[in-house]
Symmetry: C2
């Protein structure tokens, strides 16, 4: 009996944003693994075992899924958003590389609606031109790399989306991010704080960089910073498609 | 009778990647507008008018949708991938800004699976760490901005995804992109050419930067360039989640 591992993106929260491809994989699974609040989004049914686990258990979870597949199970690891964007897909390949790689293992990564694109759609089109996605957490990288990437993104006049901007264990870093942005960008630059998009707790707030304060973000917030041309029309925020030669 | 405009992302091609939210909007539409091959993906039905139009007609298409909504229609503009990533959402807000903005207009942007994330999922997890998305076309921006963004992205050690890498009218620019990357990155850097992902024409090819040639890309290709730590395990390409202090 040959098993499989699927890493599936559940999107930002609204079931209407789960792709049919992911839904079919969930319906066929024998085992679903993931961070506790993501597994909580899956309905129990006969023949399905749910394996919720804690945050920061990514590698152990990936190894568990590979072991279940070796035993013939159909394991689905669920991620919020897209599994390839600061989520479980990389952890699975790290586990695969660390264990003896089995070329016959049936593995599929199923994309999902990632938080920044759900947030951008609610706000308008702030990522409508070239943009960067940066994970502001320094759990797995030195803080100096975060600072370097922020400066390069600003000097390239990219719009930016920040994941994991702030947590209880890292309360001061987002203040430093705003400081760096103020050194690199004009004060009128637009900043969108998009919290829990597509869930009942959804809240969007657009301010200028000058007005932005660290407490506007928490771990459920995606922060989007426009480029130098990003503007507002009514309640919408968008980045134009064109940059004229006289532009930045 | 009050109308509406929806800008909906159809994903990269496979109907299994169309979100239920987008499907509901398509089912309720009275009018569907878009670039010819995207409108061709929509089934005809009584009560629905299809308005296919040519490429580079984005602003006229957006104005048409706003006009239909003013007349009480429910217009859906379809984009491939995600409408907020190098697609129709920004064009709609440009049209809205250029015409007198009507704050009562019912407008919604519905996210979709964008090409780079569908391509990344098929390849493994090459965008598993900080990354940039860059549109290589200079139809709407000076080429110098493309070069500047490439260099900043490389110096920030971002993974990169390139949209519109090459067209018949711009055959030489992608060669210049490869030249710049070779100046900024090591020759063993991994490059993925992902063509027509999730369609019957899908083709993925992973090479090193040294091996990459301009003819590997066309207008249906998304190109993904790893960061300095991106590696292969079996047929998969992934970027690890961690950067150690001794890293780049």
């Amino acid at each position: 009996m040959s098993g499989s591992v699927v890493v599936a993106g559940l999107g930002p929260g609204d079931p209407m944003l789960v792709t049919p491809e992911v839904q079919v994989a969930l319906d066929r699974a024998t085992d679903i693994l993931g961070y506790i609040p993501y597994v909580a989004r899956i309905a129990a049914r006969p023949g399905l075992t749910l394996h919720p686990s804690d945050n920061r258990e990514e590698l152990a979870r990936a190894r568990h899924a590979l072991e279940l597949a070796r035993q013939g199970h159909h394991a689905v690891i669920v991620s919020s958003g897209d599994p390839g964007v600061f989520a479980m897909a990389s952890a699975l390949f790290e586990a695969l590389e660390a264990g003896a790689y089995d070329g016959n293992m049936d593995i599929r990564i199923l994309p999902g609606i990632t938080a920044m694109l759900a947030a951008a759609a609610k706000a308008g089109a702030p990522l409508g031109h070239d943009f960067c996605a940066i994970n502001l957490s320094d759990n797995l990288k030195p803080w100096s790399i975060v600072e370097q990437r922020l400066r390069m993104a600003a000097r390239g006049d990219f719009a930016m989306a920040f994941y994991n901007p702030r947590s209880k264990s890292r309360p001061h870093q987002f203040a430093r991010v705003l400081e760096i942005l103020r050194e690199e960008c004009e004060g009128q630059r637009l900043v969108i704080f998009a919290r829990a998009v597509s869930t009942p707790d959804e809240a969007l707030r657009t301010v200028t960089l000058e007005q932005a304060t660290p407490d506007m973000a928490d771990m459920r917030t995606v922060v989007i910073v426009g480029n130098s041309l990003t503007r507002q029309v009514g309640q919408w925020v968008y980045t134009p498609r064109a940059v004229t030669a006289s532009g930045p």
